[in-house]
């Protein structure tokens, strides 16, 4: 030390995708500042899309080159390993797809500062003004989503968490229709998000107190050396867990999800339900497997209860929902529970978790794309006052618009995990990995894991009910006389639905290539 601060070494090559996204976001801010209003949209859209696709290309290049570093980049702050790259790829595809939807007109408010229903609002709308800030905001959020699961120390992770969340808080409040609901969602999300971030930070501090470091590798080492279990560590573990589980919407920290998903503009809901979930599950894996992997005997019973409760709450509460977006939110909670089953599967044949890791990565990819597709369909079913969310409005949609209803029905079947859809293989992979992990351990864990998987299957059955109910409603009910209109989809929305459908069908029929990809990503495991 000696008071000399060494210049940090930064591996620019490895970090290029991340830097590209953040760079483009900063550029976007400059565009906001200097470009004339009428040009902004025309500049933002290509800038955003190209930076996301460019970052994706860089990820591909990194994967193809295949020389992954053994240690974390940026002085041990960012781990760029197989799983991180896979998640980056998924997040970048998802966000690119969501940007296509975000670009559609009519989702975002003309002037966020105007009081809902006021004359200013009407004027702004009449003037055709729009908030082009959404593009850089989305890019910052995406950058956060990339950094979050790749952070190799708790402080970087906290910063990533905030970089991801803050733009989303804002974006949630920018819906064009039902603005009060949107602003309420934004406020709730912000309050509760800040609350949970505090838990995360406090937990990180506790763990620092125990291990003397915030680096996940360091924490893991400290666990190996200390024989007794420090209460400091246990409290830190619990609080850290609260912060992370809040982000994936696990029970009992799920309450924000339905309200926020409902109120936020639907393209943003799609981004949160897919991108945020993927990133957060990645972060959960990294913290619990890399940092606290040696403690799995301690956190697994708690995780067991959380997973069980999450699946039950998600699938049971979804039954009585009458709002399509809230129903999808509860469905997302249930799926978070299924993913947590995978998180618990830390035992594996090689003692390396690669089987369960690849199962989770596969699940994330297929589930998130189906989710984006489903929300894209929601944006198209409209009443005069905005999107038609109430399920009764969806009655007889199959007769009015058989293609759209058919596509949506297919997405729902994928959520339910019916064979020949990607969702089936996702659930199958995670459940098999969990069972296999339980068997490998050769002790009482086997029974517990089996019990959890059985519970998961039962929850899937309950969930299938409300998915199929919507299908029945769409195809076997008489259409309402003044039913919603089906908006003519823009090129972007068509592209979104097509991509989602192709992946859902394609992976459902030929899962092997994607499974191989996930396996390959998982075989690199996390850098420790």
């Amino acid at each position: 030390m000696n008071g000399v601060i060494e210049a940090p070494t930064i591996e620019y090559g490895a970090l290029a995708p991340l830097l590209l996204v953040f760079g483009a976001a900063v550029l976007g801010v400059l565009v906001e500042a200097f470009a004339p209003r009428y040009l902004r949209r025309a500049i933002h859209m290509p800038l955003t899309l190209l930076s996301l696709l460019g970052a994706f290309a860089l990820v591909i290049v990194t994967v193809v080159k295949g020389d992954l570093a053994e240690t974390a980049a940026a002085m041990g702050a960012v781990a760029i390993d197989g799983p991180a790259l896979f998640i980056w790829g998924v997040v970048l595809i998802l966000s690119a797809v969501c940007v296509l939807m975000i670009n559609d007109e009519g989702h975002f408010v003309a002037s966020a500062a105007a009081v809902p229903g006021s004359s200013e609002e009407e004027e702004a709308e009449a003037a055709g003004s729009e908030h082009t800030e959404i593009y850089p905001l989305v890019l910052f959020a995406v950058g956060g989503m990339m950094l979050f699961p790749a952070s190799n120390d708790l402080l970087t992770m906290f910063v990533a968490l905030e970089v991801m969340s803050l733009p989303l808080y804002l974006l949630c409040g920018l819906a064009r229709r039902r603005r009060l609901l949107s602003q309420e969602a934004s406020m709730k999300y912000f309050l509760l998000g800040a609350f949970s971030s505090a838990f995360f930070l406090y937990g990180a501090a506790m763990i620092y107190g125990f291990a003397g470091t915030v680096s996940l590798t360091g924490i893991s080492k400290a666990l190996g050396t200390s024989g007794l279990l420090d209460p400091l560590l246990m409290i830190g573990l619990a609080l850290l867990g609260v912060g992370l589980l809040f982000k994936i919407g696990a029970a009992p920290f799920q309450a924000w999800k339905p309200d926020v998903y409902q109120g936020a503009p639907t393209p943003i809901t799609a981004l949160m339900a897919s991108g945020t979930l993927v990133a957060a599950v990645g972060a959960v894996l990294r913290v619990f497997w890399v940092g606290l992997g040696n403690l799995d005997w301690n956190w697994r019973p708690v995780m067991w209860a959380v997973a069980a409760l999450t699946m039950i709450i998600g699938s049971v509460l979804a039954i009585t929902q009458t709002d399509i977006k809230r129903m999808l939110a509860y469905s997302s909670i249930a799926h978070a529970g299924f993913l947590l089953i995978g998180v618990m599967a830390t035992y594996d044949k090689a003692g390396q978790n690669s089987g369960s890791l690849s199962a989770i990565l596969f699940y994330l990819l297929v589930y998130s794309l189906t989710t984006v597709g489903a929300f894209a369909v929601v944006t198209l079913v409209r009443d005069p006052g905005g999107e038609a969310w109430h399920l009764s409005r969806w009655a007889g949609l199959g007769k009015r618009s058989p293609v759209l209803a058919g596509v949506f029905a297919f997405f729902l079947l994928a959520f339910a995990g019916i064979p020949l859809t990607s969702g089936f293989f996702g659930k199958y992979a995670v459940f098999t990995a969990a069972l296999g992990s339980g068997m490998e351990s050769g002790d009482s864990l086997g029974g517990w894991m089996t019990g959890l998987v059985v519970l998961g299957v039962v929850a899937s059955a309950v969930a299938a009910f409300f998915y199929v109910r919507v299908i029945v409603l769409m195809f076997f009910s008489e259409p309402a006389a003044d039913g919603p209109t089906i908006a003519v989809p823009s090129m972007g929305t068509v592209a979104v639905i097509t991509v989602a459908l192709l992946v859902t069908v394609g992976v459902g029929l030929f899962p092997q290539p994607v499974l191989d990809l996930a396996n390959q990503a998982a075989s690199g495991l996390f850098i420790r």
Binding site: M187, L191, F199, L229, I235, P301, V302, F465, Q512
Partner: protein, 637 residues
Amino acid sequence: MESPVEIVQHTAGGVIGVSWLMIALPLLGAAILLILGRVTNRWGHLLGVAMSLASFVVAVLAFFELIGLPEAQRRQAVHLWEFIPGMVDMGLLIDPLSISFALLITGVGSLIHIYSIGYMAHDSDRRRFFAYLNLFVAAMLLLVLADNYVGLFIGWEGVGLASYLLIGFWQFKPSAAVAAKKAFVVNRVGDFGLLVGMFIIWTSFGTFAFADLGAQVGTASQGTVTAIGLLLLLGACGKSAQLPLQSWLLDAMEGPTPVSALIHAATMVTAGVYLVVRSGAFFFEPGSPQALAVAIVGAATLLAGAIIGCAKDDIKKGLAGSTMSQIGYMMLGAGLGPAGYAFAIGHLITHGFFKADMFLGAGSVMHGMNDEVDMRKYGGLRKYMPLTFATFMVGYLAIIGFPLLSGYFTKDGIIETAVHEQPVLGWLAVLGAGITGFYMSRMVFMTFFGEKRWAEDAHPHESPKVMTIPLIVLSIGSVFLGGYLILSNRLMVFLGPATGRPSDANLPEFHFASTPGLTTLALVAVGAGFAWMRYGKATVPVVAPRGSFLTTFARRDLYGDALNESLFMRPGQWLTRIAVFFDNRGIDGVVNGLAAGIGGTSGRLRRIQTGFARTYALSILIGAALLTGALLLVGNI
């Protein structure tokens, strides 16, 4: 006896490498016609024909490539993709057996496609008809080309579906809808047998692939193999309309006539024979109980079908009875082991030609007679439809085994082998041939000879060329194919790599003047003569006379339906009622209670979601406290 040669994995390119096109092309045709719908109405039938013909071309090219290979390499497995990881690799098996079927299916299938252009010309749904025909061809090809039981089963079910759709094609007729349902339900019984057989195959051997089963089959007990064999036989009985699952075939004549020709005479009903022959090397060892069962089923069905054929006045039902009977011959041959396989397959191929010929001929007659099917209202048609008459006569002579025509060689081969291997069944087959002589002659005399007994508005005329040309092609096959295949054992040697065959020194010789052969000819002559006396010389009453007890027995399909009704349908209905009762009171009670319980819980839990951020924050706080408490507790244990 030389056993089948090993299956080799196909490596080189060539047509065999792309033999999946055979299945893909008609499937694509069906997809285009069904998805694009009315847009394709104007050219849909042409696309259907083109796809079927293209598939035929691929089959021919693959055939020539196959016979260009040395005999030991004539079983080529083409791997396509991993279907169910660790369980099923989807692939095709191109060997003499499957390629023979492929040629028959695509060849005869294409002719029937062409014929249908004319036959269905006035049907507003012709495009849909061709879509189903293409679907059928694709499914049937998958059935015979798959290199494992799972692929075979998918094709098997696809064939069942296409058959259902086509029998019920004129669904506005209640009788057609009922017949389609009946065919489907009866086939389910057989399918179930096949499925359970496959389950046992998987648990016993851990593989579905034909390539692996050969080596594995020795590891199972005799009882297991017999069980598998009998279950597969049940499946075969369903698809091939063998006793006791024969009842659907006669009703299936409700479909348009080309369907009866394609599916219920030439191809689909032969699937059972294919299944038995394909599984022969594994599960039907000659002399085993299950092989004997196959032969007995065949012999019983060939007699039953022949007897039914004697009493039918509906020309298509008469032909259907004859189909049952002829497939009975094939099953009998297939039950005799490798010695009989070549004759069974040979008869299957020649039968495909002459039966399609006669069915299409019957269709041509109906076309000219305002869709009249009652032979008592025909008579003397030979002058009005000379081409149809000539081609029908060729088919007729072939099926009764007139010397030197196709049926003579193949049927006689089965009979000779049967008399040698299972004398009782063999002589029953001889008797069956005599009955065939009677009922087929009856059909010809009632239709083409005698005086006119037409309805008043009937104006018989020859059919258009698009219908008669396929008839001519088919009748040429009916004349020469049998001799070509059987004399000097061409088919037996060709099939050798797939089914096994006698060594070169022991190849059978064809006897033109053996005792069973001559007896058969004599009995056929007696039968034909008897038919001439009853239906050629004497006047045929327009209204069917009551007839003896035996006639009624045959007219009622040997009481097959009555038997099914009293044995299965009534008890089944009772069982259903009891099950429904228990389902309503017991199971539904539990299920509905459970559902109501979950719904109620959901309704109550919903109230937690108050919408207030403070409540949510409180729940997070409580959750955090619980987590911390639990972790501290676990840590201290």
